[in-house]
Amino acid sequence: MCFQNLPIEFDALGNARLKEGLDPYAYQTRDLDRSKVEKLLASNGHVKDINLDPVTRVAGALSFHTVVDLEAGKVLEAHSIATLFRGYEVILKGRDPRDAMFISSRVCGVCGGVHSVASSLAMEMAFGIGVPPMGGALRNIQLALDFMVDNPVHLYLLAGPDYSQVVIERTNPSLWEAAKKTETRHGDVHGFKTMAELFTALNPLTGKLYLEGLQMTRPAKEAYAILYGKYPHPQTVVPGGLSTTVSLQVLNETQLRIIRTLDYAKRGVFIWDDITEFFYDADSRYQQIGTRPKNLIDTGMWDDPYAYDGTYAGAPEWGERRWATPGVIIDGELVTTNLHHINMGMEEFVEHSYYDGWEDDGVPFRTDPAGNPIGPNHPWNKETKPRSDQRNWKDRYTWSTAPRWDRQVVEAGAYARLWTTAAAAKMPHTRFLQATGTSVKIDTPQTAALPAMEFEWKIPETWNAFERNRARAYHIVYSLMVAYENVQIAFDLMGQGENKAATMTEFRVPRNERVGVGFWGAGRGFLTHHLVMDKGVLTNYQIVTPSTFNASPADPFGQPGPYEEAVVNTPILEEFDSGDTFTGIDIFRAIRSFDPCMPCTVHIANGRDMIMQDVTTCACGAA
């Protein structure tokens, strides 16, 4: 492991240390150059400046600006804009740390539970407490159920309509003609004979798959409510576990719902396999929709209930025992699976966001609790200072910040979780799930309509919008099998009389200065909560969400964020006569494949010149 851009080196034992230098973390800001685009815009009628405000069928408030050359079928420029700011990080400052679970959960209502858990993990680290195995198992089930809501909602209600009959017929008539004649590969499983039938089922309001997307997520929400009270904001997450009253009834009702939705999830894999293959066959340039370098990041999630101890020092070990292995992929190569490395490499930049910098406020932490160097832009050192400004493509244009890892643009997603797990092949649990180095294998038991099946998600050769959606369909099955394994663990624990799901009730909130970080995952991937507390209250709280990574604007080095990159790489394959009939469907497919969620992308705030933390954009947009 070595960092390419950060001034950190490793000795022979693998211990990190800062490279020599006056101000090793200093960097030169590169101005964004728009002169070419502006010239083209001024002189050419077929170059269009397009403002999409708002982009619909995403969670939260996202708008998008692009410049498209309609003649060449090329996107020249793209800007992703988070249009909502709520100031959660500011609100959290000065509060009892335990309130953070409930308050930070409200950062995002699309996947609220993940924030409460990340928050309780950060607190466990700060308080120095662990979690009983039952608590660990139930936490795993919780997040798996969350994804059984999140991912299908995205695949069938948000992104799905982009592949529906009404859209394809309008934007690509020739494709629609082909669809009518093409037989599906897996019609025997999902029941649609031709691709046209399948696309019709994706139609909004009337399509079978669209309506199922509403209905089949309900059993998962029920199971979630049974265990955690409410969805999306759970009521039973506490530092040190869960306050759920566990009984056999609760476990039985949960397991039933997992099995009932598993059938649906299995079918989904074949549907998205068929959609992907159809588009690839129709025109191989579809492999370029939403493509960008294979740079991905994930924190891993679903702790081994017997390995997790809540310490920062132990993070590399318990991290690798997770059902989803933490990791960073750069150019398709796995560079690390160590949570310390992931944490060290994180930085957040606000050069193109509506925030002031915090360079005048000193650097409270030069190292993490394990002695590894961290920079002034690391979340533990960051302060959130919102300052609304005019929109300017060269300067500031979004409420989202720009998180980077090792100063490289990385993308987060449910698929990143599968990818790091597959590539690392360190996932130790093999009853149903297996990581092979190039794929993850998922064994599923027999369910009501489908026999036992083995699925294999292989690390894709090209990386694009279709692969993102396809991986998401696999990810649903993967999470449900994690949930299934964990219900079994919970049943076993019940059998041993171990039904305690939380460590303790009477906390003594420490009065001295403590730091903590929760590494967890959302429906859209990577999630961290960094907290600093002193005298029993929070003094800094920073949330980095997956959509903050994905929706980020350009960084000071001039590298655009993942949405922007993906859109710029997208060829325009739509069939249109003139600029007036152009709808931009390819751009939408590229953006939506990330499953944007803006509520948590932006969570900055500022109180009277005090610097506050700011939350970046997550799947939920602006916090």
Partner: protein, 485 residues
């Protein structure tokens, strides 16, 4: 830091922002289906023949405006089942006009095509009444004049004259659409009371819909803001309220009751404690000492006894879940004042200790009496000594104390009424004529003469005794007289 509430009623009017250059619409950018969702919706319903609402209104537009929200209210709503959102959308409910939903998570179109319908509503050009639903709190956009709003949704349509193309803050949409809306509904605690974005220390000056529109606001139907609180709200609470309102607008039902804060009165009239499954633990004075306990959660910080909510009665989704049902203490998320009036969470509320002390004292008296009675009641009358359970052969070995307790208890229980099996007309009780061997059914402590006698009678007459027949059908002309005495 005090809340920065300033000039709530007059949201700023935006000026065009610099940095937004030429836009050459009207064109089809963002209109991926070639028609807006509202048109598609209308078409689907017409061809599917679902537009008969049995009243004057065929459809009602519902504009769902998200302000400073987390989208949790939308997520809750799509989980609702009483009725479900798809039933409302597809005209599946007779008497309820079809709801044409305009929601950023459901629309096919983006950008200016999305804001088009809002513009039409603003211009009074819609062909049916509309309702607005607001999710999230309303920031003070006076703090951002001339710069990027805290919460924005859309720009003015691009076919508007260049100098009118503006970024639109969500509060600006509310200001424009609320006066003509048939009903204005605030969903979720952020919109109803302010919620977390409006809590102490917030930088955006956020307030609630009620505060924003003011005391004198009335919708076109003459209603102040309707509030369906909750963080997140129960989806069913919202869809139920909307359905009832739609029925009312269509002349198919009464105007639902609302309480003094505009909440649906039948949902929020009582405290959540009154329906709590742990309520009886409270009454007996049993309180959970640690997380996961099945007792009342009052002492680990439950605010249930003072919070208006009914999640313990309705469940969260499909009748399942609910905070205290699962084991989470109430944090008052449906209440005005959330979160600051209820933090720090998990700290025992001040009124709790006096109240739980009283109920402990009450419990100390009632519990032993109940347990003794329970021991006696929890037995078949024929188990005079041990129960026949193979699970615990010594099941509840009854002592002399219990026997005498039972003796007096039974006397009181049957005081001035009949103890079965003593003086009564047995044939009426055993009229079904069952054929279980009496020995097995009753044990030797019970009068066994009747079935045997009946069997004998039946044999005498040559009739077969079948279960489930009246005595007459068994061959008895007249009821058998009690001749044992």
């Amino acid at each position: 830091m005090e809340n920065m509430i300033s000039v709530p009623m007059k949201a700023r009017v935006d000026v065009p922002l610099e940095g937004e250059i030429s836009r050459s619409l009207p064109d089809q950018m963002g209109n991926v289906a070639g028609a807006h969702s509202a048109e598609l919706h209308q078409r689907l319903l017409e061809t599917g023949g679902r537009m008969d609402s049995m009243g004057p209104l065929k459809k009602v537009y519902v504009f769902w405006l998200p302000g400073m929200s987390c989208d949790g209210c939308s997520v809750s709503t799509i989980g609702a089942t009483e009725p479900s959102i798809e039933e409302l959308l597809t005209g599946a409910l007779p008497g309820v006009p079809v709801m044409i939903l305009h929601h950023y998570q459901f629309q096919m179109e983006s950008g200016d095509h999305f804001t088009h319908l809002l513009e039409q509503a603003d211009a009074g050009a819609l062909d049916a009444p509309y309702i607005i639903v607001y999710e999230g709190s309303i920031p003070d956009e006076n703090l951002t004049v001339g710069t990027e709003p805290w919460a924005a949704k859309g720009s003015l349509p691009l076919w508007a004259p260049a100098d009118q193309r503006q970024r639109r803050s969500t509060s600006e949409w509310v200001r424009r659409l609320a006066p003509e809306a048939a009903v204005t509904i605030a969903i979720g605690t952020c919109a109803t009371w302010g919620g977390i974005p409006a809590s102490l220390g917030n930088p955006t000056g956020a307030i609630s819909m009620m505060d924003f529109l003011g005391k004198d606001y009335r919708s076109a139907l003459g209603l102040p803001v309707v509030n369906v609180p909750g963080c997140p709200p129960i989806g069913d609470d919202f869809t139920e309220t909307v359905t009832l309102l739609l029925k009312f607008m269509n002349g198919q039902g009464p105007l639902p009751d609302f309480d003094e804060l505009g909440r649906p009165a039948w949902q929020f009239g009582e405290t959540v404690h009154l329906h709590c499954p742990r309520g009886a633990w409270y009454e007996e004075g049993n309180f959970a000492r640690e997380f996961g306990g099945k007792e009342c959660l009052a002492e680990i910080g439950c605010w249930g006894p003072v919070v208006n909510c009914h999640i313990t009665e309705r469940g969260f989704i499909n009748g399942k879940g609910g905070c205290m049902v699962a084991g989470g203490a109430c944090i008052g998320c449906m209440s005005p004042g959330f979160p600051d009036k209820f933090t720090p969470f998990y700290k025992r509320p001040p009124q709790t200790t006096p109240a739980t002390t009283l109920s402990r004292m009450h419990g100390a008296l009632t519990k032993p009496l109940r347990r003794t009675t329970q021991l006696e009641r929890n037995r078949e009358p024929r188990w005079k000594s041990d129960a026949t359970s193979g699970w615990a052969p010594q099941y509840d070995n009854v002592t002399l104390f219990h026997r005498s307790f039972e003796y007096f208890y039974t006397r009181i229980q049957y005081f001035r009424s009949e103890l079965p099996g003593r003086n009564e007309k047995d044939e009426e009780k055993y009229a079904s004529g069952y054929v279980v061997p009496p020995e097995a059914a009753y044990g030797k402590h019970y009068a066994q003469w009747l079935p045997e006698r009946r069997a004998e009678e039946a044999r005498k007459r040559g009739t077969y005794q079948r279960p489930g027949l009246s005595p007459q059908a068994d061959g008895f002309e007249t009821p058998v007289q009690d001749d044992q005495e």
